[in-house]
């Protein structure tokens, strides 16, 4: 696509703002659908925006034992999530900063966010933060090989690890229903559940300290600090879903800036994200949270799926 620095900057800003504005809506949508599934009315669709607004108005309470790391954690987490949005192709079959790096840089940025938040969580000296950080790093370490193997399968079959190029080539070739794609997509979906802190890996709705992972890690945060964490988590979830949709279902992705193509692409993306959200809701509503030491087995399943996908594609 276009390569002038100004155009790239505009594109990146627009995409990042789009992700930031729409991510809370995804959270609301999932909550609403989950409530419908349980025959409840549930919170309003726009409730997450009100929640963010409320948190931003409250004063942050910080522990006396905490150092600057505690303050820096949510900010780095937020920045890494926002920077990650510029690396995934969303409406267009190209990512704003695709020349900065591809799949590996995206995974690295998410790892940076996790590192920052886990480090900060240990700063207050509260055992809950430590417990959450320890569990988050454990799940992250187990999810990473599965994530990489699934992404490698997609990258190696398209002959590129650059996300923009990858989506362009897949769109050109058309969606294939090669079984290896299905397996890789399934592996990535399991990793999505883990990274987004969803049932069966984690439960975003509980505040029972002993069972939670992500919520335990951010237990000491409040006010604007907490708002940044929540917002970034929502952005991260949307990034993951967009990635999954772009890699395995690139139907309707715009290859030009024509308004018509963009409109079709936007509709297609909304439909795909809606579908993925529905899938998440189905999994969350029909499964119980796994005991923490059963999570490695789930991750092993994802790793196995990734390996099978690779083996089927090339042998």
């Amino acid at each position: 696509m276009t390569t002038s620095p100004l155009a790239i900057a505009l594109f990146a800003t627009a995409q990042a703002l789009g992700f930031l504005l729409l991510a809370p809506l995804l959270r609301g949508l999932i909550k609403k659908m989950k409530a419908a599934f349980q025959l409840r009315q549930g919170p309003r669709l726009l409730q997450p925006y009100s929640d963010l607004g409320k948190l931003l108005r409250k004063e942050p309470v910080r522990a006396t034992t905490a150092s600057w790391v505690f303050v820096a954690g949510p900010r780095v987490y937020f920045a890494s999530a926002v920077a990650a949005t510029t690396l995934v192709p969303a409406l267009l079959a190209s990512a704003p900063l695709e020349r900065a790096g591809g799949i590996l840089l995206l995974v690295g940025l998410l790892a940076l966010g996790r590192f920052a938040l886990a480090t900060a969580a240990l700063d207050t000296g509260s055992p809950f933060g430590g417990m959450g950080a320890s569990r988050e790093m454990t799940v992250g370490a187990l999810a990473e090989p599965a994530l990489m193997l699934a992404l490698f399968t997609a990258g190696l079959s398209a002959g590129t690890l650059n996300l923009g190029e990858l989506v362009r080539r897949t769109a050109e070739r058309g969606t294939s229903i090669h079984p290896s794609e299905l397996l890789a997509a399934a592996a990535l979906f399991i990793v999505l559940l883990a990274e987004a802190g969803r049932v069966p890996v984690d439960n975003p709705a509980t505040h029972l300290e002993l069972t939670m992972i992500h919520e335990a890690m951010v237990l000491e945060y409040s006010g604007a600090d907490l708002a940044l964490v929540e917002w970034a988590s929502a952005v991260k979830e949307l990034v993951f879903m967009t990635l999954l949709a772009g890699l395995f279902l690139p139907i309707g992705v715009a290859t030009s800036l024509a308004p018509q193509a963009l409109a079709i692409s936007a509709l297609a993306l909304v439909a795909k994200i809606f579908g993925l959200a529905l899938l998440v809701v189905l999994v969350e509503s029909t499964n119980a949270k796994l005991r923490f030491f059963r999570v490695p087995e789930l991750m092993a399943v994802a790793l196995g799926l990734g390996f099978l996908a690779l083996a089927m594609r090339f042998f």
Partner: protein, 673 residues
Amino acid sequence: MSESLFPLGLALHATGVALALVLRRHPAACRSAAFLASLCGSTASFAVAASVLASGRSIRGVLFANAAAGSSVGYTVDPLSAWFLMTLAVLAAPLALYSVGYLAHAIPPGRTAFVGMAWNVLLLSLETVFAADGVLGFLVAWELMSLATAALVTTDHESRPSRRSAFLYLAMSHLGTGCLVAGFFLLAKGAGSLAFADLLAGAAAPGALRGLVFVLFLVGFGVKAGVVPLHVWLPEAHPAAPSNVSALMSGGLINAGLYGLVRVGAGGLGRPDPAWGMGVLLLGSVSAVLGVLYALGENDLKRLLAFSTIENGGIALMAFGAGMMGLAAGRPGTAALGFVAGLYHVLNHAAFKGLLFMGAGGVVASTGTRKIEQLGGLAHRMPRTAALFLLGSAAIAGLPLTNGFASEWLVFQALLRGFFSAERLTRIVLPLGGALLALTSALAAACFVKAFSLTFLARPRSRAAAEAAESPALLLAPQAFLAAACVALGLVPGLVVSVLAGVVAALPGMGPRADLARGLAGVSIGVPAFDQLSPLLLVPAALLALGLAAAISLVAARDRRLTPAWGCGGELTAEAEYTATAFAKPLVMVFRDIYRPTREVSTVETTPYFASEVRYRSEIDAPFERHVYGPATRAVLAAAGRLRVIQAGSLHAYLAYVLVFGVVLLWWLGGLP
């Protein structure tokens, strides 16, 4: 002028030895003189390396010549030597400054001269190892290097563990040196020469013996590189030495092993067999994963860093293995990518491991303990050390915008590009290696969250930690230098890669210079682009996002409130904190088949209802020590016991042995019937 610069560097180190000896009664002067000489020597060595890397032309010369015997020991600084010399200098120069400040408190004043001498001998021999142009000079320098290191490990020779570590190190070193001698003899026998130009130029290896020679070199160099299962000495010896020496061992000494492996692996013995590359890749993966797992289970800050050295050596080996597989398959582009990635990682490892060991040294000097469980809260008392250690942790965990990310990114590329060039069935190991590398780097992130957070954050868990004081500027400045190197090397991968492409192209059997760099800041793999990286492009985005976060929180909340953290209704004390053991526990449980943890819980009861005291002890199995080296040591001792029969202590018997041996020797040499 640059022809005489390399011997000048060696001479400066020799001067350091002499000055340390002369000034041994005046510790302060001795310290300054010895390490200033070391700094100058490293600077000279850096200048030589930089000139070779910039021009691409090797520098040759003679170190000693014996006219009577007609033999001489020479040196050749070719681009590969220059790369390792530069890596060593980048680490050793700041370490020399650090040592001046650090040793003042870390060792008894009477031992200053000893450390100053051994330090300079170690650097002198390391530089000679990297530049030797023949077997003789190489082996003498190699042995000197091992002995100087062993001497430094026993700096604290009153402590039994130190002596044991040094002994273990010597035993393993000699196992390695023995293999090297055998390997070189096999090579030299075929070539009829002892010069590397004849031996390691890719032609000398005799067909049938090639495999044996390679395995001998793999073991010989593998011991120094800390390759699992030859690593057992490393986690003992590295932490036993003073921290400045630990840093030099982890960031510099293991490079001697990696240097040798590149010399023989990258076409030195001719085009490698595919199995060699596969073997190196496998050893590298095992070292990387086991190294980081043991690091994660470790609660001694310096031992943790030592285990992580095994991990990083493993990552470099994975890249070299992928490169060798590419070379074996006749794909010079893939081969070059593998070696570029591995050599990049070697430099990066020297930078961040040096930084982390210096930080750990500052903590040990200030608190007197290396046990993470007894630290905590140091970010308040030692804020600068904490910030620098955090940066080093991020780099070693391979997070974006640091050098660790850039080189691990290249290793991933080497593995994935190798996929296309390898044979059909064997190529599945390459993406699987990629998955293991992903596991390694995620575990390293967990490991260094633990190492940083539990050392520097929350409340101090001991009196020593509560009363710690910030390190002086002389200790902090060298750390800041290496921290800056970690950031800079991560932001200009294009520059590093274009230098390395020249280094790799100069190796025997390598194709033309690989075209990887896109300007100073960018790297691009494959045509059409398989993948590309230019971290500088992401910097404005990351800074803007960080600014947005700061702006949001500034606009949003006017006040901040400070309260004690919630303690479930009680007061939150340091005892309630999450400990290092607890932090690593989930991963220890997940990988329990590897760790085989043993735990004992005993309760001291006073009343039937409440335990007054619970004792908890848990330990991680050391499988190689217990199941490989234990039986081997016992077998050697048993054999030695049997040999005692002929060692009767009788002079007559010994004279008879000499006579018999002399006769047999004459018979064999003279070809008697």
